[in-house]
Amino acid sequence: MALLTVDGIRVAIGSLTPLDGVSFTLDKGQILGVVGESGSGKSLTAMSVMGLLPLIGGRVVSGAIRFDGIDLVGLAEPKYRALRGRRIALISQNPMTSLDPIIRIGAQIDQVAMLHLGLGAEAAKARSIDLMCQLRIPEAETIHASYPHQLSGGMKQRIVIAMALAADPDLIVADEPTTALDVTIQAQIIQIMVDLVRERGLALMLITHDMGVVAQACDRVVVLYAGRVAEANSVEAIFADPQHPYTRELIRCIPRHGQAPGSLKGIPGAVPSVMDYPQGCRFHPRCEAALPLCGTSVPVFERKTSGFAACHASEAVHA
């Protein structure tokens, strides 16, 4: 059984439904890429799994989220709190929002293990320093005693990863963990995360808009568009044979080495606002393959010749 199963969740915030039927599964030792433009529902999906929707006045109105046999939808907050940080950890885009600027780095990592694993102060510190070394943080002892402002962005993000790992979680949700970083640092951080998944059998849900990062790190990919799943497949298949025109266009947006000048086009228009989602397939106003049917009928998310997709223009396979 998969470690995490998200099954057709609908998320409502007031009278709006920004997520409408998102499904995927994630196994141990696997990296799942969740991709899409801003406004596609990537971060909301992360918040749903983390049980953080109440913070923004949202809730899961239907569908199920199961983590290791536990039903997360409707789980009481005290029980959620025992999972969060302990078994499910979050790495956010901006490390500064995860670190307290007036508390020393070390104390912030230590308290995770003290709180969740019941370790004493010294054992927690030894554990933190060991983790920092594994994350290739130089002079771990010195950095353990520093404040966040004394560190570079890449180093701060490593500290946030150390905090996420401190209680030895089973699942890490990483929301654009390298978007704010320089490329050489991004490459290092992504490599560290891939190594961790392989060595510890962690499950990683990697939210990103960067198809380069997806190709480099992920095993499976879910493409979201305007609150729905457009396509899901293995990373190799999704790049080799994308079934949804949105996936195809998204891949084409990144210039390849040696691409001819004038051939980069982008996707016309923009992701619609949750307040005026179009009828039928939500991508149809921007889609070059749109059929008359696409404007009236919502495509079913079904098995295709390769993987699963929700598109009228791609042929279904009925088993």
């Binding site: 050489t184 490459a187 198809m211 480099q216 390849r256 982008g266």
Partner: protein, 319 residues
């Protein structure tokens, strides 16, 4: 003496910043841009690439004299910018404009798009003919009904189109593009790059394109300048040339291609980026470089010209 094909010629350009530790503490200085000499050829796209803190944005501002140089000169069409009076400089600025990274802060939120586009004419005292604003918005692909709207009603991509329209208002021949797509989604980034390519073709513009994104620079630029800690370390004569400086190579290897078949093997970078306030005596990259020798730590390599105008500042350039 720069020839007629050179639009901008920078010579020994340096910008120093001084900071003090506390109110009465000792002062220390760093050179954000350090002795940079670079020609920007007319009608071409010159790309400047590097990570945060390499000085690329400071260089962009120096070229337009938005900030003053500590040393060195910028010649535009054979005129030394440093010798110009404020009035003469303002007049020259009609011919050279900038597109900023953040379209959100580049436009006054209280101005309608029409008023934002009329501003350059007002500032420069240029007569505004009927239909000019309509032509401008059409040129950047904005629909006429947006002219009377306000920035908050526009998406990020549309705002950046307004930023480009404003830069083009007075028919300049040179644009400095300072990370114009860094805050946009990849799909919108590709749209904007496509637009910039078209405008360059139609209007015969010269671009200085500042970016941290190597795939974009390689796609978009005729010539690639790599900066590290304030200095130029390499100039690639064309986008197909193979880099020979070890830092440029690291930069290229850190870039993930959108293709799972071409995953990169990320090697661990030894050492840390030196503090710009306390640069080493020799090559600034030596601490992180696998090819560094005693010579590199002792003596800073100068930018030397190899075959095809390929320039490298390295004692042991790769083949």
């Amino acid at each position: 003496m720069p020839d007629a094909d050179t639009f901008v010629a920078m010579n020994g350009l340096t910008r120093e910043y001084v900071s003090s530790k506390g109110l009465f503490g000792p002062t220390r200085s760093m050179r954000a841009v350090n002795d940079v000499s670079l020609d920007v050829p007319r009608g071409k796209v010159t790309g400047v690439v590097g990570e945060s803190g390499c000085g690329k944005s400071t260089l962009a501002r120096l070229v337009l004299r938005l900030i003053d140089a500590t040393a060195g000169t910028v010649m535009v069409n054979g005129v030394d910018l440093g010798t110009l009076s404020a009035g003469a400089l303002r007049k020259l600025r009609r011919d050279m404009q900038m597109v900023f990274q953040d379209p959100y802060s580049a436009i006054d939120p209280r101005y309608s798009i029409r008023r934002a586009l009329e501003e350059p004419f007002r500032v420069q005292g240029v007569r505004l003919d009927k239909g000019v604003i309509e032509d401008l918005t059409a040129k950047v692909g904005l629909s006429p009904r947006m002219i009377e709207s306000f920035p908050h009603q526009l998406s990020g991509g549309q705002k950046q189109r307004v930023g480009i329209a404003r830069a083009l208002a007075l028919k300049p021949s040179f644009l400095v593009l300072d990370e114009p797509t860094a805050s946009l989604d990849v799909s919108i980034q590709a749209q904007i790059i496509g637009l910039l390519e078209e405008l360059k073709q139609d209007l015969g513009l010269t671009y200085l394109f500042i970016s941290h994104d190597l795939s974009l620079v390689r796609y978009f630029c005729d010539r690639i300048v790599v900066m590290y800690l304030g200095r130029i370390v390499e100039i690639l004569p064309n986008a197909r040339a193979t880099s020979r400086h070890h830092y440029s190579r690291t930069l290229m290897e850190s870039h993930f291609e959108p293709d799972p078949a071409r995953r990169k093997l990320v090697t661990r970078l030894a050492g840390e980026i030196p503090s710009p306030f306390n640069l080493p005596q020799g090559c600034a990259f030596a601490a992180r470089c696998t090819a560094a020798s005693e010579l590199c730590r002792r003596e800073r390599p100068l930018l030397e010209t190899h075959a095809d105008g390929h320039q490298v500042a390295c004692h042991h350039p790769a083949d």
